[in-house]
């Protein structure tokens, strides 16, 4: 591969990773509990847990910015910035969720769940727009981030049900393995496309190192345990708990790795030679700014 100086990015460290870990889990949890509670509304602690997770993620990323007191500037560029869109959705997510929970209004809770899904999508698009990092700009990362967020949200909800003494919901034990299969497929697709796209060797090596753990401990084992919990009622709570914990922590581990370790920069290269005066593309700012998705 004609590429050199592909060093690891260090601009986004564990603080950014935590935003993707907790934010992804929390936002998906809102969606999961909203749907799982229909036709009613979720218990307040479950909703608060989701908001705390999202809030913690945003707090840690706030710790990373160089000028934290200017945080309101993050809302200035909704036309093209997925970071602005993520922050804007978060601004709506908190009050809508709280209002839905406090007033026990299923329609508002569902709206909050949809906002959670949009928040999760924004996180995926934030990575996709990072053109300097080949492992982030790979289009398959969108499905991976969304599917892993949904898995994590489901896992936390199962843990919540177990800890709160609620009965395990059959639907959740069916949903979790389905989502795990989707996540495993997304993970495989993501890796294969990175390999085909000639991502930096160091990136591929790090992803290869976590592949077996992610696939077997993070997806296949919890899927099997969830199936056991479903089929053997007496084994339900412990099997469900282990399945949820494995699904949750493997997702966090994968995202932490992608953000902080498998994030080698594009590097420099010698391009394909051309001859003659180039066709000139005018600067995009000569046109009025418009919304681009």
């Amino acid at each position: 591969m004609n590429r050199f100086y592909t060093v690891l990015q260090t601009s986004w460290d564990w603080r950014a990773a935590v935003n993707f870990m907790f934010g992804g889990t929390g936002s998906a949890l809102i969606l999961i509990i909203a749907i799982a509670s229909l036709p009613g509304t979720p218990a307040l602690p479950a909703g608060i847990t989701a908001l705390v997770l999202v809030g913690l993620g945003l707090f840690t990323v706030w710790l990373e910015i160089g000028r934290p007191m200017r945080f309101l500037h993050v809302f200035f560029h909704p036309q093209t910035s997925w970071m602005t869109r993520e922050a804007s959705v978060a601004l709506l997510l908190f009050p809508v969720t709280l209002i839905g929970l406090l007033y026990r209004n299923p329609a508002i809770v569902i709206a909050a769940g949809l906002l959670g899904l949009v928040f999760l999508y924004c996180q995926a698009r934030i990575l996709l727009a990072s053109k300097g990092i080949p492992s982030w700009r790979e289009p398959a990362i969108v499905a991976l981030i969304i599917s892993t967020g949904l898995v994590e949200g489901s896992a936390v909800f199962i843990l919540y049900l177990l800890l709160s003494g609620s009965s395990m919901q059959t639907a959740m034990l069916v949903l979790l393995p389905v989502l795990l299969v989707i996540r495993a497929l997304s993970w495989n697709s993501y890796r294969q496309r990175l390999i085909a796209g000639q991502a930096p060797q160091q990136t591929l090596s790090i992803l290869r190192d976590i592949h077996a753990t992610t696939l077997w401990a993070g997806n296949i084992t919890p899927a099997v345990l969830a199936a056991i919990a479903l089929l053997i009622p007496v084994a339900g709570p412990p099997a469900g708990a282990v399945a949820a914990l494995l699904a949750l922590f493997s997702g966090w581990h994968m995202k932490f790795t992608i953000i902080t370790r498998a994030s080698q920069q594009q590097g420099y290269s010698v391009g394909k030679l051309k001859r003659g005066r180039p066709q000139i593309k005018p600067p995009v700012r000569r046109k009025p700014d418009r919304f681009v998705f």
């Binding site: 601009s11 809302f75 727009a129 010698v270 391009g271 051309k274 003659g276 600067p283």
Partner: protein
């Protein structure tokens, strides 16, 4: 209209880093920050080895990823194509740093000086608190360009209207000018030579062209 671009002739560049030093001198950048630098590239296996020196920095893309991702609108673009950063708007989120495919952006969270915590007289005189905690990068010496234009000078021709790195180059490897002017120095260089834009496949349409005469090797070292 005008679009300023830079042309680096890799056949001429000797890797002396004079442009790097000139940039640091002109822009007062702290240790570890190099808006302009020259990378030393070797590839192949003995005895078939190649080496080139490649000046790198902000490529002032026509379609800059850094500007699109910036949540604060701090990163902007002038009509003449120069990509800018408004230090008063930037929140220092580093999104532009990871969005830039050219590793051109820096963020310095605390003042850094060449010899510990105490700045030299020259460092103290040029220290700019506005640059702390925000993104920074090559500006194509936009202040010099603007000041030169105000005096009726021609960027790329008259030194007082030309980026410091171009003025300093000992091998005449760096050129600066208006690519939308068919008769400009940079237009003529590109018309008469083979050239490439780095990572053209990303569609950024860089404002930085490299003159070079060898097709990219398939076995260049990756890391």
């Amino acid at each position: 209209m005008t679009r300023y671009v830079m042309v680096a002739d890799l056949n001429r560049c000797v890797g002396c880093q004079t442009c790097t030093v000139a940039c640091k001198h002109t822009n007062g950048t702290p240790p570890g920050v190099q808006w302009r630098k020259v990378i030393d590239v070797e590839w192949g296996e003995y005895p078939d080895v190649e080496r080139l020196f490649m000046p790198v920095g902000c490529q002032h893309c026509a379609d800059p990823p850094c500007m699109h991702v910036c949540p604060s609108t701090a990163t902007g673009q002038r009509e003449d194509g120069i990509v800018t950063i408004d230090y008063d708007l930037c929140i220092g989120c580093s999104y532009c740093v990871v969005a830039c495919p050219y590793q051109a952006r820096y963020k310095v969270d605390n003042p850094v000086f060449a010899y510990g915590d105490t700045p030299m007289e020259s460092e103290a005189a040029r220290f700019d608190e506005k640059r702390i905690g925000v993104a920074q990068k090559c500006t194509f010496c936009a202040d010099r360009v603007d000041a030169g234009l105000a005096k009726g000078l021609r960027p790329g021709i008259d030194p007082d209207a030309t980026p410091g790195c171009v003025n300093a180059c000992i091998a005449d490897a760096l050129s600066f000018g208006d690519i939308e002017d068919e008769n400009s120095n940079v237009s003529e260089l590109l018309a008469e030579n083979t050239w490439f834009q780095m990572h053209a496949e990303l569609g950024t349409e860089t404002g930085f062209y490299y003159l070079w005469d060898q097709e990219p090797s398939g076995d260049t070292d990756d890391e």
